[in-house]
C-alpha cells in the first residue's frame, strides 16, 4: 500500500470528486458561468483540505453540460491552492489522450504539489471526447487496454521501448519530468459490472469502482472478481488498493438529505443521460444497504462502515456537486464530512499493527 501512498493505519481515506459538470441549478433555473464553476472547484478543494478530507478529484468530459475539459489545468491550479490534500483525476479519459502526455502532465502536477498527484484512468461513459478528439469508438475496448498498459509501463520503467497499434512506437524513450518519488499512484476506473474489474485485477492495477446506487452487495462481485483476477495473474491482491465512488449528499436528517439532493440528481441525470432518477428508487437510499450515499450523517457513516466490511476498500470518493448543487450546500456538506463523518469512519477502519 505504501507504494500507492496509502497508510492503512490511519483508516479509510475519504475524498471528494467532481466530473466538472456544468448544469443549471434546478431550484433557481439558472446556471453559473463556466468561469465561476471552475473557480469554485479550486475553492472547494481548499475547503476540503481545511476540513481534513484526504483527496480531491476533477474529471474530464468533452461535451455540453461540462466545464472541466482541461482537467489537468484545473488540477494544476488546485496543486498551487492547497498544501496537503491528494490531487487526482476522476477520471482522465485515457482513450482519447496520449499516455506519454498524460504522464508528463501528472508528473508535473506531482512536482508542483510536492508528491500529491494521482491518475484515475477510464474509458469515459460519454461519446463527446471521442467525437471531438477524433478517436474511433469502434476501438473503444482495445485502445483503452493498450493505452493503460503503456501508461503503467511508463510508471514502472525508466526507459521505454514499446510498440502498439494506436500510438507511434517508443525507442528507449525517457519520459520527463519524473514524479517526485519516481512513481505515481495510477488507478483504473471501473464501472459496476465485474468484466472491467477483472481486467483491472488481471493488470495488477488499483481499482476505482463506481457504486452509483442499488444494493451495495451487488458490487461485491466486482471486488471479489478483481482480487481473484489479480491473484490468478501473480499479483498480491492485498497490496492493491481499491477505491469506491458514489454520489453524495449529507444533511441533518434523512428526509432533509433526500429533499436537498433529489432535484439535483434528477435534473442532472435528465441533462446528461436523457432520463431522470426514479423517485421510488431514490427513496430506497435511506436503507443502509443501498450504495447511493444520501442521508443523515449517521446513515452515511453506517453505509460506509457496511461497505468497508463488504469490500475492504482503502478509499471512498464522494461526488457532492452533481446537478448544479450550489456552493453554500457544498460548504455544508464538507463541514459535516470533516466534523462528523471522517472522524467516525477513520476510527472504525484503522488497521492495527501496520
Amino acid at each position: 500500500m505504501k507504494k500507492y501512498r496509502i497508510d492503512s493505519s490511519k483508516g479509510i481515506e475519504f475524498g471528494l470528486y467532481s466530473l466538472g459538470d456544468h448544469i443549471l441549478n434546478p431550484l433557481t433555473g439558472s446556471r453559473i458561468s463556466a468561469q465561476q464553476r471552475i473557480q469554485e472547484l479550486v475553492e472547494v478543494s481548499q475547503l476540503a483540505e481545511q476540513a481534513g478530507i484526504d483527496v480531491f478529484g476533477v474529471g474530464e468530459s468533452h461535451q455540453k453540460y461540462f466545464a472541466s475539459q482541461a482537467h489537468t489545468v484545473i488540477l494544476g491550479a488546485i496543486a498551487q491552492a492547497t498544501e496537503k490534500i491528494k490531487i487526482t483525476s476522476s477520471a482522465t479519459v485515457l482513450s482519447v489522450l496520449d499516455p506519454v502526455r498524460v504522464y508528463e502532465d501528472f508528473s508535473t502536477i506531482d512536482l508542483l504539489s510536492d508528491g500529491r498527484a494521482e491518475i484515475v484512468a477510464g474509458r469515459g461513459s460519454r461519446v463527446g471526447a471521442y467525437q471531438l478528439l477524433g478517436v474511433d469508438l469502434q476501438d473503444y475496448e482495445d485502445i483503452f487496454e493498450e493505452k493503460l498498459e503503456l501508461l503503467k509501463l511508463i510508471n514502472e520503467e525508466e526507459r521505454i521501448t514499446w510498440q502498439g497499434n494506436y500510438r507511434a512506437p517508443l525507442q528507449n524513450a525517457e519520459i520527463l519530468p519524473q514524479p517526485k518519488d519516481g512513481f505515481l499512484p495510477i488507478w483504473r476506473a471501473v464501472g459496476g459490472p465485474p468484466a472491467s474489474a477483472i481486467k483491472a485485477g488481471h493488470m495488477g492495477i488499483p481499482m476505482m469502482l463506481t457504486t452509483l446506487g442499488g444494493p451495495a452487495m451487488n458490487f461485491k462481485h466486482s471486488v471479489d472478481a478483481y482480487r481473484q483476477a489479480a491473484e490468478n495473474n501473480g499479483f498480491d491482491a492485498q497490496s492493491l488498493p481499491i477505491g469506491t465512488t458514489s454520489l453524495f449528499y449529507v444533511a441533518d436528517s434523512n428526509n432533509e438529505a433526500l429533499q436537498g439532493m433529489y432535484p439535483h440528481i434528477n435534473s442532472g441525470f435528465q441533462a446528461i443521460r436523457g432520463a431522470g432518477y426514479p423517485k421510488q428508487q431514490f427513496a430506497q437510499t435511506t436503507d443502509y444497504r443501498d450504495a447511493l450515499m444520501v442521508g443523515s450523517k449517521e446513515l452515511i457513516i453506517e453505509k460506509l462502515l457496511y461497505q468497508h466490511e463488504l469490500y475492504g476498500m482503502q478509499r471512498f470518493m464522494a461526488q457532492i456537486d452533481f446537478g448544479g448543487v450550489p456552493f453554500d450546500k457544498l460548504m455544508k456538506n464538507i463541514e459535516m464530512i470533516g466534523n462528523d463523518i471522517i472522524p467516525a469512519i477513520k476510527k472504525h477502519t484503522r488497521e492495527k499493527g501496520e
Binding site: L137, Q259, R273, G274, F282
Partner: protein
C-alpha cells in the same frame, strides 16, 4: 397528455393506414391532448451504436427525443419474418433501457394473415415490459382483408381502435394518479 403514434415500418401501406386512422380517432376523441404521428418512413434514422440517444443528431435525435417526451405511445407494427421489423427494433435499441418508465404503450399490429397472431404477445410485449412500459393488455390485430384501397373497411377494426384509444388514455390517467400519489408520499 402527450400521445405519440408510431408507424414502425418504412415500407408498405397497411401500418401507415392503420396509424393514420388511429391518429384521426385520437384527434377526434381527445382534442385537448397533444397527438403526434411519427411515420418512420419520413425519417432517416441511424442504426443504434450504443451511445445515449441525446448524443445522436438529426432525425435520429428528433424521433428518439419525441418518443422520450411522450406520455403514451401507440406502436404500429407490421409482421416481417414472424417478428417486428428491424426499423422498429432499432428504435428500441436507440433508447435507454428504462425508456418507457411512467409511459403507457399500446399496440396495433398489421399482417397479411393471422398466421403470427401471437407475435405481439411473445415478442413485442416482452421488450416493452423490459423497458418498463405500462402496457395496455388488449391490442388491435388487423389483417390484409380488413383493408380496402388504403382504408380500413372492417367496422370491427374501427370500433376496436376506438376502444384502444380510450384504454390508452384511461390507463395513463390511472397510472398518473398512482404516480402522483406515491410521489407525494415520498416527501422529496
Amino acid at each position: 397528455m402527450r400521445i405519440v403514434i408510431l408507424s414502425g415500418s418504412i415500407v408498405g401501406t397497411k401500418t401507415k393506414t392503420a396509424m393514420l386512422k388511429t391518429e384521426e380517432i385520437f384527434l377526434q376523441k381527445y382534442p385537448e391532448h397533444d397527438v403526434q404521428l411519427l411515420d418512420l418512413a419520413d425519417y432517416q434514422i441511424e442504426y443504434s451504436d450504443g451511445r445515449n440517444y441525446i448524443d445522436y443528431e438529426g432525425d435520429t435525435k428528433y424521433v428518439t427525443e419525441t418518443i422520450m417526451k411522450a406520455d403514451a405511445l401507440i406502436i404500429g407494427t407490421p409482421i416481417f419474418q414472424a417478428s417486428i421489423p428491424a426499423t422498429l427494433k432499432n428504435i428500441f435499441d436507440l433508447l435507454p433501457i428504462h425508456a418507457f418508465r411512467d409511459k403507457v404503450a399500446s399496440i396495433v399490429v398489421t399482417a397479411g394473415t393471422a398466421k403470427h397472431y401471437l407475435m405481439a404477445e411473445q415478442q413485442l410485449k416482452p421488450i416493452l415490459s423490459y423497458m418498463k412500459a405500462q402496457i395496455v393488455p388488449t391490442y388491435v390485430f388487423i389483417e390484409e382483408q380488413d383493408f380496402l384501397r388504403k382504408e380500413i373497411s372492417n367496422d370491427d377494426i374501427i370500433f376496436r381502435l376506438d376502444r384502444l384509444a380510450e384504454d390508452t388514455v384511461t390507463t395513463f390517467e390511472a397510472y398518473e394518479a398512482i404516480r402522483i400519489k406515491k410521489d407525494e408520499a415520498y416527501g422529496f
